[in-house]
Symmetry: C2
Subunit: 336 residues, 2 copies
């Protein structure tokens, strides 16, 4: 019989944790025992997995005895506090927070891009930020083919990126406005219903947000190329769960739109949706619930000789979080 693993999910009741649970089931991950960990507030709840109701336990430093793979999605502070305990207990941690991503001792992995890096882990493998994973999957095959030298990205990020509370806030505000009441702002920094704002994560001294700088630094680390120049504007939009990005790239070698389309058609994790005359292009509505990152509107940039414009959409909760983490866990067990 195939070996089964004791898996823990830290942050199991969050919106990403819930998707991790679903993704483990959907991909038939060889789960032996499953431990669901969350804050004291959620302890005692039960979540369903493989026909069983599993109790949620409080996440503490003692939660990891016997755990072999710990998927963390409980925020950077909790990862910093509890991931070392999990590693000490013998688990390998796949961490979805920003806590360890730029740590030189921690591999930052998108399985379609740099799966070999998983082998270098010292107990922790980091899962990239959602907008980075979604960008990296389609850009990597283009980078391999023609070397990307510069990326200009503008994002259209769903409420899900800020958690279940933000998704609920979008729905609630829409109702409040429909009923002629004032939209109550509590989770996100601004009203999100019928509004958008260039404010995702905190602002840094250089005028960029942390979210924007994650796109810069994480893309370089995942691609293993510190020379790629990246600028980004990250915008929260009134969408529930998939992120979109308008992307302009400059490559060292000229890529025609046709060649880019051919390369992307064969790329893992990518689905080319690029028949605009038939109204087919990436959209959050069609990307939601799908594992692949959708890519379309592929065209040669008329403003520079070696440029391409594209539009991408990917499920923030899947490729942007839970799916990528479970894929990393699959690499871990494949590597033994």
């Amino acid at each position: 019989m195939a070996r089964r693993y004791t898996v823990a999910i830290a942050g199991a009741t969050g919106v990403v944790g819930t998707e991790m649970l679903r993704t483990l089931a959907a991909r038939n991950f060889p789960v032996g025992k499953l431990r669901l960990l969350a804050s004291a507030r959620s302890a005692g709840k039960r979540l369903r997995f493989a026909g069983e109701d599993i109790p949620v336990e409080e996440l503490t430093a003692d939660s990891f005895a016997g755990v072999e793979i710990a998927l963390f999605s409980a925020g950077a502070a909790r990862s910093k506090e509890f991931a070392p305990a999990a590693v000490k207990a013998g688990a390998v941690v796949v961490d979805n927070s920003s806590a360890f991503r730029m740590d030189p001792d921690v591999p930052l992995v998108v399985p379609e891009v740099n799966p070999e890096k998983v082998r270098e882990h010292k107990g922790i493998v980091a899962n990239p930020n959602c907008s980075t994973s979604i960008l990296a999957v389609p850009l990597w095959p283009l980078h391999r083919a023609a070397r990307i030298v510069r990326i200009v990205a503008a994002t259209y990020q769903a409420a899900s990126g800020a958690g279940a509370g933000a998704m609920a806030e979008l729905r609630r505000q829409v109702r409040e406005i429909e009923e002629g009441r004032e939209a109550n702002v509590s989770v996100l920094p601004q009203q999100i219903a019928f509004n958008l704002f260039p404010h995702v994560d905190v602002f840094l001294p250089n005028g960029y947000t942390k979210e924007e700088m994650k796109l810069v630094h994480e893309t370089r680390k995942i691609f293993g190329d510190e020379t790629i120049r990246v600028t980004a504007t990250c915008v929260r939009v009134p969408i529930l769960r998939a992120h979109s990005e308008a992307v302009n790239i400059e490559t060292e070698r000229k890529l025609s739109a046709e060649e880019a389309r051919r390369i992307l058609a064969k790329a893992p994790g990518v689905c080319v949706v690029d028949e605009p005359e038939r109204k087919r292009y990436p959209m959050p509505l069609t990307a939601s619930g799908r594992d692949e990152v959708l890519v379309g509107r592929i065209r040669e940039d008329i403003s520079q000789p070696n440029g391409l414009d594209l539009f991408i959409a990917g499920d923030q909760l899947l490729k942007g979080a839970a799916l990528n983490a479970v894929q990393i866990a699959e690499l871990l067990i494949k590597n033994g």
Copy 2:
């Protein structure tokens, strides 16, 4: 007593026509007689202006006797059909459609940028496309100071850009989804509630949309500089009435963020909203109903030496349409 003018609005019952009416009143435009023109379907309706109920008449080639200024916002086909008749009757036409914008005999005017061009009219002055006006107002003073050589823009365009029907569709779909029903798509090409799509206007053979190419060609014509390189991705978002744009520019001379902010602070038609640490940046919610284009998130682009990133938001119905048209009419009467 000051001279008053006979003004016609062709497309008076549309969402831009209605804003033109409001803008004429709000700016105390010296209206003598006002003629409201629309399709036969709307004839007989009455709209209020300056305390009077004015009947809507059917737009025909005979509508313009005695009209001195005709504001057109009834779509390109009607502009092509009826603007010549208005000119023949002695009116000067300010046309909000795309019909004449790229005609070398027709000035394309943003009053904050090239007001002097109004003098060159031969009966028609064109009003730019909404995303172009909103982009041109803040970029022009930067172009004058440091010469913009390239623009990469990603737009976040409101439903209003597709008319009153699209705004109603967004509201209706939100209700349909809230009530657990299917969102009915009729005006826009895709579901707009909780969705977005990179499809504004029709697709062209080069893979860009007509909307995207308007940004390219119109910006060059308004700035009087055919060398500016522009690429854009235009995206419809579930917002009611203001357009936003994430803009990356490259300038010939290096502009610091501080210098750009100083220049923009003195620029006409611009309001700098750039205190991110106090959660102040441009948003459609705060741009709606305002004459100025809001500019913020001004920062030096870390991906190129002479680059700047900015985020702008402007009311699509005001600076993007009705206000710009009325400002052009004001220039016409100022010039006699």
